[in-house]
Amino acid sequence: MSAPPQAGAARILDRGYRPYEGRRGGTVAAVRALTVHSVQRALGLKRPATQKILPALAVFIAYVPAIVFVGLTLLVRDTVLANENLVPSYGEYYSFISAAILVFSAFVAPELICTDRRTGMLGLYLASPLGRSSYLAAKATAVVVVLALVTLGPPLLMLLAFTIIGQGPDGPAALARLFGEMLLGGLVVAVLQASLSLAVSSTTTRRAAASAGIVLLLLASTAVSDALVDGAGAAPEWFCLDLVQLPFELVRRIYGERSTSVAVAGIQTGTLVAAYVGWTVLFAAFTWWRYRRIEVDR
């Protein structure tokens, strides 16, 4: 005769399906949910360990220089090297992490929008309160947020560390001003990279092809700009074709720093801003146009 089951071992196997009478969010809630989900996906959260390697590597590459510079400042602050400018300025920092920005730009947008078309998730999203425009708004926000992790995070880390060790800005007003510049500079880099990478990713369902396309476009823009300005002696304004250096130059000007290139330093800030806005709007409009035309797989 078997022993009677113990009360503690009992469990509910079927909770039953119940009607839902509570509050329902509309499009705004849908955009928020998709943005959060996309950020988590890009960072490899709630995904197998192999999917976490690339984002972790990019974050590592972006933050290591900041950590090294803070450590270096700590090491030399009481020595004769303290006044030797061993640590780059905030404006110059982006040159050190351009590889991390390139990796993230080439990885994030393809992961977030090519996958949705390839796996048919786009059809499910468009059968929800999301429309094509709100879907793209959620994805663009997610790409900017993830890119800001490498364009905004490291300078903020440096600012925090320098402030703690007493080498930060003087007074709250200077701190607030620098923080504002940092925020604007980080977003300037992230927004253009997001716009560009979304545009390239909208042309294919294959992540690898999109990533390769983004890297090629960025490198080609630099090569063409260099060839025109430095090689052919064209007007310095052709520098605006360089999609890698253009936002970095704007960041330098946000911090009030001079460009290392004499030719680039001569370009009006208004010209750089116009080129930046033009590129960003062009890529965003292309993405939007592509998604107006894309046939949704059902």
């Binding site: 909770r15 009607p19 839902y20 197998p48 796996t119 797989d297």
Partner: protein, 302 residues
Amino acid sequence: MVVGTGLTRRFGRTTALDGATFSVGPGITGLLGANGAGKTTLLGLVLGLHRPDGGSLRVLGLDPTRAGPEVRARIGYSPEHHRLPPDTRAHDLVRHIAEVHGLPRREATNRASDALWSVGLGEERFRPVGTMSTGQRQRVKLAQAIAHDPRVVLLDEPTDGLDPVQRDDMLALIRRIGTDLGIHVVVSSHLLDEVERICDSAVILREGRVVASGAIHALTGRGLGVLVEVDERADEVAGRLLLRGLETTVDGSRITIAHRPDQPAGATHDAVRDAVAEAGVGIRRLSDRTVSLEDVFLEVGV
């Protein structure tokens, strides 16, 4: 629930829907038609993804072209394809779709579990979708379609890729959703026997037009006419029925007698009794004439 009047939708030179007029009521409705008949276009219009070129459409009392997000928030949708993110766990996927439909996170988490239990994937809910069979993926698609408690759920070819046993299970599940859970279901399918088994009504499309619609029992014509099978001399019995003013069709030993609305109930059966008795033949079978959906399909030329 869904009412379309003179719906027209064109894609370039192709007319996908051509003045379709129909009404989808409560319960389970089958959307039938061959490939290219306009089923998917009709689902797209119901979801507010296309704007009709002509006619009007009301879904849950709303115009989906003007109130698309509001309509889609109360609709669940299960696509035909089986491709879902392979590295995403079933529970995460269902919860995410429920959140996108406006449910708070905690509620979406609880309901994702409930929905997966309801479709028989309770024990498997934390498995990545990529490790699941086609049958399990169909269930995941069904779970994500019902997790946010929609008023209507649209299922596009829900038994595609399933073996006969899985197919029976899925049909029973759909029937349960339409009856026990109180969610109205629209099943788009080209498999007639499935629709006949589980649906309360059907809308049949051909080349963008609604060629038949209504309750299944009305479409299949149950109770309209009589079928009699005799031992021998079916032609003689049919002749005697003809003399009594009844229209008959003979197929071997079977005689199909058309319904005459001007005759009182039971008059046809009395006539059969008399004709068979006069001919002196035995009856093997006597039943109401039934018409399958396949017959309806053939009749309307689908």
